[in-house]
């Protein structure tokens, strides 16, 4: 009995120390993000600066949109891309062996017809047919056998004519100015190889003519909690790392890459469900090996909206997939850990992700079990249990609150009083029940990854709340 009590006490102390360090690291990253936001606010005073939307020197961008069973949203997504405020944009949709009406929807909506084109084959999946539209010359649709998202992206990469390639999920809606803003770091610095922007849940938004006209916090509890998670993740996880030069994640939902860097790295990897993180690691790694500078930037302004899961089942699938992707990416590049030749990435960023992102569900689960058992057996006092809660959940709450403040500071129009109330409620409820569920899903993801499970899982798409179009749209509404 004494041995058990001693073990419980050690586990409790370890978990407490772990979350204290993790919480402090999170706050340091948010403090770093605050400096970036301040810098960005000063930059905003530049009236226009280089405006890629109007500039004659804007590089060609190819938007790659892999779509697997996205019939409910694909027409809206393509529609919103066609009306982007960027003058030099090519759109390549890859129908990744959909079993629903994705291809039919596209063919009908954009008057597509089969054409003969040349494809550079870097992907193993077979291209069945290529479609183009006389009405929209910059739109191409590739019908391919199902080979996974990475394969689909690689097929699109083979057809891309842009100097920059933008990977966009089929359920993502994009702000009209977003691509122009995301191009900016590439113009500022030739060593930038990838850039990502802010993603938000689309669930509470109102959409008209495939554009988000009213950006609101989702009403549903599950979606509103994810909204808080997204804000925190993008502020501390991306913007915070920006300043420290340690950005290794470009969201698969909306990220811009230099095409040559992407091709030279061999394209996206099919060996992981976390292809978005893995490709950034690979590109940065190769650049370091060639002794070249390779910057990855997070730009807080560009906004893309994606539909987040509203059922526990879909959310669980998504989270366990993210955890598998993280483990895969770190495992595939494990020889970079603590190697000075890889700079901050090998010495700081990857160990941080391994310890505080990958291992945190294990420590949290152990901590919860140890506290519960400790209280029952009397090994852990109420004070220690309270301390654990304060450290593990209190610091996370403060981090979320700080991130939300930064978000409101950057774009106050996004935070109305009703939305702020909804977010505050979500922030509290996130710590009570939701977070423990994510611990379970992430542990499940780790277990699946160790078994070699590479399935994506399914997510049911509900589509968006579409208002009646204010003007005739070029393509019929869904």
């Amino acid at each position: 009995m004494n041995a058990l009590r001693a073990i419980l006490l050690v586990v409790d102390r370890f978990a407490l120390g772990f979350f204290l360090v993790a919480g402090c690291a999170q706050l340091v990253l948010i403090a770093s993000a605050s400096r970036r936001v301040r810098h960005r606010m000063q930059r905003e005073l530049l009236p226009v600066g280089l405006d890629p939307q109007r500039s004659a020197i804007c590089p060609r961008v190819t938007a790659l949109v892999p779509a697997h069973d996205e019939g409910a949203v694909i027409a809206n997504t393509v529609q919103s891309l066609l009306t982007m405020e960027y003058p030099n944009l090519e759109i390549v949709v890859i129908n990744d062996g959909s079993t629903d009406d994705t291809l039919r929807t596209l063919v009908d909506a954009f008057a597509l017809r089969p054409v003969e084109r040349l494809v550079a084959t870097q992907a193993s999946a077979t291209v069945k047919r290529i479609y183009a539209s006389a009405e929209f010359p910059d739109l191409l649709v590739i019908d391919a056998d199902n080979g996974g998202k990475a394969n689909a992206l690689n097929i699109g990469l083979g057809l891309a004519t842009g100097e920059l390639v933008c990977a966009i999920d089929a359920d993502t809606l994009i702000d009209p100015r977003a691509i122009g803003q995301l191009v900016q770091p590439f113009l500022d610095d030739p060593s930038v190889i990838a850039a990502g922007g802010t993603i938000r849940p689309a669930n509470g938004c109102t959409v008209r003519n495939s554009r988000v006209v009213d950006d609101r916090t989702p009403r549903g509890l599950l979606a509103s909690i994810q909204d808080v998670e997204y804000v925190r993740a993008f502020v501390h996880g991306r913007l915070g790392w920006n300043r420290l030069g340690g950005n290794i994640i470009i969201s698969g939902a909306f990220g811009l890459f230099r095409a040559t860097a992407l091709r030279n790295a061999g394209g996206f990897s099919s060996d992981t469900v976390g292809e978005d993180m893995e490709i950034v690691l690979r590109m940065r790694r190769q650049a370091r090996m060639r002794h070249e500078a390779a910057q990855v930037w997070f730009v807080p302004d560009p906004i893309a909206w994606t539909e987040v899961p509203e059922t526990l089942r879909s959310l669980g699938h998504q989270r366990d997939r993210w955890q598998r992707g993280l483990l895969d990416s770190l495992r595939m590049h494990r020889d970079m850990f603590f190697r000075p030749r890889y700079g901050a990435m090998g010495m700081v960023v990857m160990p941080y992700f391994a310890i505080f992102e990958l291992a945190s569900p294990i420590v949290e689960a152990l901590g919860i079990v140890a506290i519960t058992l400790g209280i029952v057996t009397g090994a852990v006092g109420w004070g220690q249990a309270f301390a654990f809660l304060l450290v593990a959940y209190g610091l996370s709450f403060i981090a979320a609150l700080w991130a939300m403040l930064l978000d409101a500071w950057v774009e106050p129009s996004r935070v109305r009083s009703s939305d702020a109330g909804r977010r505050l409620r979500a922030m509290v409820l996130e710590q009570c029940g939701y977070r423990q569920l994510t611990v379970y899903w992430r542990l499940r993801g780790l277990a699946k990854a160790l078994r070699g499970d590479q399935r994506w899982g399914t997510q049911h798409r509900q589509g968006y709340t579409e208002l009646a179009p204010s003007a005739p749209a070029p393509a019929p509404a869904r």
């Binding site: 000063q42 005073l45 530049l46 020197i57 084109r117 040349l118 494809v119 106050p412 702020a420």
Partner: protein, 332 residues
């Protein structure tokens, strides 16, 4: 209670409410600004109507606005009206205190205030020595704003020459603004761009090249040609863009020379730029790149050839049949 726990409780109890108060302040301020923005837009519309019809109904409305919003109304209008209307706006700005505020802010210690002053200066035209001095400010954001507003206020050769002084700025953002401003200057900026290209200073030359891409000026293209042997690959790639669709024999020769550049990205861009001339004869120059060791160059070459029409397509197909490399093109 352990000291650590006490410290945690204290910090969380203090920090959380402080963040909440700040958040509430942002939300409340935004709501207030929304109302004021709507009022300012109404004043802007009335002012515009006054400018077009020679009336003066907006003066009273303008006076009711706080100084910050008065400035905003005048600044917004100043960027969208002609020179004569801008003179009227200058008088209004003098009368309603906006000019005085802008001049005072130009000498502020805070960079943010100086940039804000520059925006407000637009209706006044930037001639104040303090305004011109901002081109040499220590803050990049201030220098960038000064360049931009000078370009907005004056589309003449003098302004272009002043802006060009910042073409070798340390900050890449400022250099891009200079390039954009010169590019937007059109024919009036062309002599300045040509002069920058001939300076021999690599940074200024790169800025001038970026500006030249938007100018589409044959003489400038000739001047850019000299930079095709620059040691910097990004400069050579930009030269290719400036020469895109080359029309004169000398620029065409320069572009075809870039097809053999040591840097793969330059070769790829040169191929795509050469194809913009839509001359089927160029298939002979681009064709060899289908055998390039770098796959991105082969892909670019095939795209370039396809843009040349049937002859280019034939070249691509013939190559696709003879090369068994998985990364080369094949007919889908």
């Amino acid at each position: 209670m352990s000291p650590l726990l006490a410290l945690l409780v204290l910090s969380e109890v203090l920090v959380a409410p402080a963040l909440l108060v700040l958040l509430a302040t942002v939300v409340i301020r935004h709501r207030r600004d929304q109302g004021m923005r709507a009022r300012t837009e109404r004043v802007e519309a009335t002012l515009l109507s006054d400018l077009l019809h020679g009336t003066s109904t907006a003066a009273a409305m303008l006076a009711e606005l706080p100084l910050r919003w008065r400035t905003k109304a005048l600044t917004t209008l100043a960027t969208s009206v002609g020179t004569s209307e801008r003179a009227t706006l200058r008088t209004i700005a003098d009368e309603c205190g906006v000019s005085a505020l802008a001049h005072a802010r130009l000498r502020s210690r805070r960079a943010v205030a100086r940039v804000a002053a520059l925006r407000a200066m637009t209706p006044l035209e930037i001639q104040d020595p303090d305004g011109v001095a901002l081109l040499d400010d220590s803050r990049a954001s201030v220098r960038g704003a000064a360049v931009w507003w000078m370009a907005i206020a004056h589309h003449d050769a003098n302004a272009a020459a002043r802006i060009a002084d910042r073409a070798d700025d340390d900050d890449p953002h400022v250099r891009h603004i200079v390039a954009e401003a010169l590019s937007a200057g059109g024919a009036t900026a062309a002599p300045t761009v040509a002069r920058l290209l001939a300076t021999g200073a690599p940074t200024a030359q790169r800025t001038a090249l970026l500006a030249a891409v938007g100018l589409h000026d044959p003489e400038i293209a000739d001047a850019a040609r000299a930079l095709r042997t620059d040691p910097d690959a990004t400069v050579r790639a930009t030269v290719a863009r400036v020469l895109a669709g080359a029309t004169t024999p000398s620029t065409h020769a320069a572009l075809t020379a870039l097809l053999e550049d040591i840097d793969p990205e330059v070769r790829a861009i040169a191929a795509l730029c050469l194809s913009q001339g839509h001359r089927s004869k160029d298939a002979l120059h681009i064709g060899p790149l289908l055998h390039d060791p770098v796959d991105s160059v082969r892909i670019a070459a095939s795209r370039a050839l396809l843009a040349l029409g049937p002859i280019g397509e034939l070249a691509v197909r013939a190559t696709a049949r003879t090369i068994a490399d998985a990364n080369t093109v094949h007919a889908a």
